[in-house]
């Protein structure tokens, strides 16, 4: 039954993919291309490229689209459910437990001790984004965009939505790729 296959194809990357959606993409490819043969590697690459060009979480865009191609709207829903529900339920249960004991000093310690780790993770992501940008758009464009967006976001305090829209417009007009 196709819906069961769709469920499995997205359930497995969902529970094995640590590090957010982008980390689970190779796992999705393994299921969709190697195991079920719904697409060729080439097709998968094209869908991924377009998915990356569009906004929003990548894992659910891939799941929703591939589910739709294989099983229509119901297939799309099944794929989304499989990739989202298991990890979300786990998350809600754990956070609820943690919040129950939030006044205990031990749980308070978690908040304090985990902060440097989060700072490092975010710092690493920052570097990754800057390096990706240098690769695709070149150093000059990257530096210009960094300076201008820092000025707009932090000094002029303009809402991120407008800054992102400005960047989109700049990209479309200048054709930096």
């Amino acid at each position: 039954m196709i819906y069961w296959s769709i469920f499995l194809a997205f359930f497995i990357p969902g529970i094995l993919g640590y590090g957010g959606g982008p980390a689970s993409i190779p796992l999705v490819e393994k299921e969709v291309v190697d195991r079920y043969g719904w697409m060729t590697t080439q097709e998968f690459g094209e869908v991924l490229a377009l998915g990356n060009a569009l906004p929003g979480p990548i894992a659910t865009k891939m799941a929703g689209y591939i589910g739709y191609m294989e099983g229509g709207i119901l297939g799309s829903i099944v794929a989304l459910f499989a990739s989202v529900a298991p990890s979300l339920i786990l998350m809600v249960l754990l956070m609820v437990t943690l919040l129950k004991y939030k006044d205990s000093p031990k749980v308070k310690n978690i908040t304090k001790l985990v902060r440097p780790v989060i700072a490092v993770l975010l710092g690493a992501m920052t570097l990754q984004f800057f390096m990706t940008s240098v690769d695709t758009s070149g150093t000059v464009q990257t530096v210009i965009l960094i300076i201008v967006s820092y000025w707009l976001l932090e000094i002029r305090k303009i809402h991120p939505a407008f800054v992102i829209l400005l960047a989109l417009a700049y990209g479309a007009i200048s054709g930096i790729v």
Binding site: T60, V84, V117, E154, L168, G171
Partner: protein, 199 residues
């Protein structure tokens, strides 16, 4: 304080609808503006949940993000689903999820049909490429915030020490973040009897 709580209670009845609308709008915005997959949207989640709607404090956001990172699966939907759940139970959870996922999936299905005919996606790619450094700046600002907060609660010396340890573990030894965060969880639940540093 008491009158604030009373006002809150009075408001609660007809504010449910508004809460749901806020949840939808917040995660809809995050979904539509987050270029580069879920992790790129983390500063946007922070903006909506902490700065804009004050659904959680800075600390709670950090804890949620940390725990989200120890668990598998897409981070954006874990964050959206959990924040939605915190704000308005199961209904909030479903609204937040739908808002962050459905618009972009629909866009993907519709656009792929159209765009695959014109394989030349150069300008679309240029648009997304220009957003990448902007997200980088937002992440850099958040990084600095977390580090500063760390300095305040742990003392600057210990904050630098713990950050250095985290850099060695995560970046030099390439230990998976989930394992590092799990280690921190176990360490703080077992070893320290009292609070670390100042409140």
């Amino acid at each position: 304080m008491v009158s604030a709580r009373k006002a809150e209670k009075k408001r609660r009845g007809h504010s449910r609808l508004k809460t749901n609308k806020d949840l939808f709008l917040a995660f809809f915005r995050v979904g539509l503006l987050g270029f580069g997959g879920g992790p790129a949207a983390i500063p946007l989640f922070h903006r909506e949940a902490v700065t804009n709607y004050k659904w959680m404090t800075e600390d709670e956001f950090g804890d949620t993000l940390a725990l989200g990172n120890t668990m598998p699966g897409p981070i954006a939907t874990k964050m959206a689903g959990y924040i939605g759940y915190r704000v308005n139970g199961m209904v909030g959870c479903l609204i937040a999820l739908a808002a962050s996922v459905i618009p972009t999936v629909v866009m993907m299905i519709v656009l792929l049909g159209v765009l695959q005919k014109y394989k030349d996606l150069e300008w679309v790619n240029s648009m997304s490429a220009a957003v990448v450094p902007v997200v980088g700046v937002m992440l850099a600002v958040m990084t600095w915030d977390f580090f500063q907060k760390s300095g305040k609660s742990l003392g600057i010396g210990r904050a630098i020490l713990f950050t250095a340890i985290a850099i060695v573990l995560l970046e030099l030894l390439n230990i998976h973040p989930a394992i590092v965060i799990l280690g921190v969880l176990i360490l703080s639940l077992t070893t320290f009897k009292k609070g670390v540093g100042s409140k």
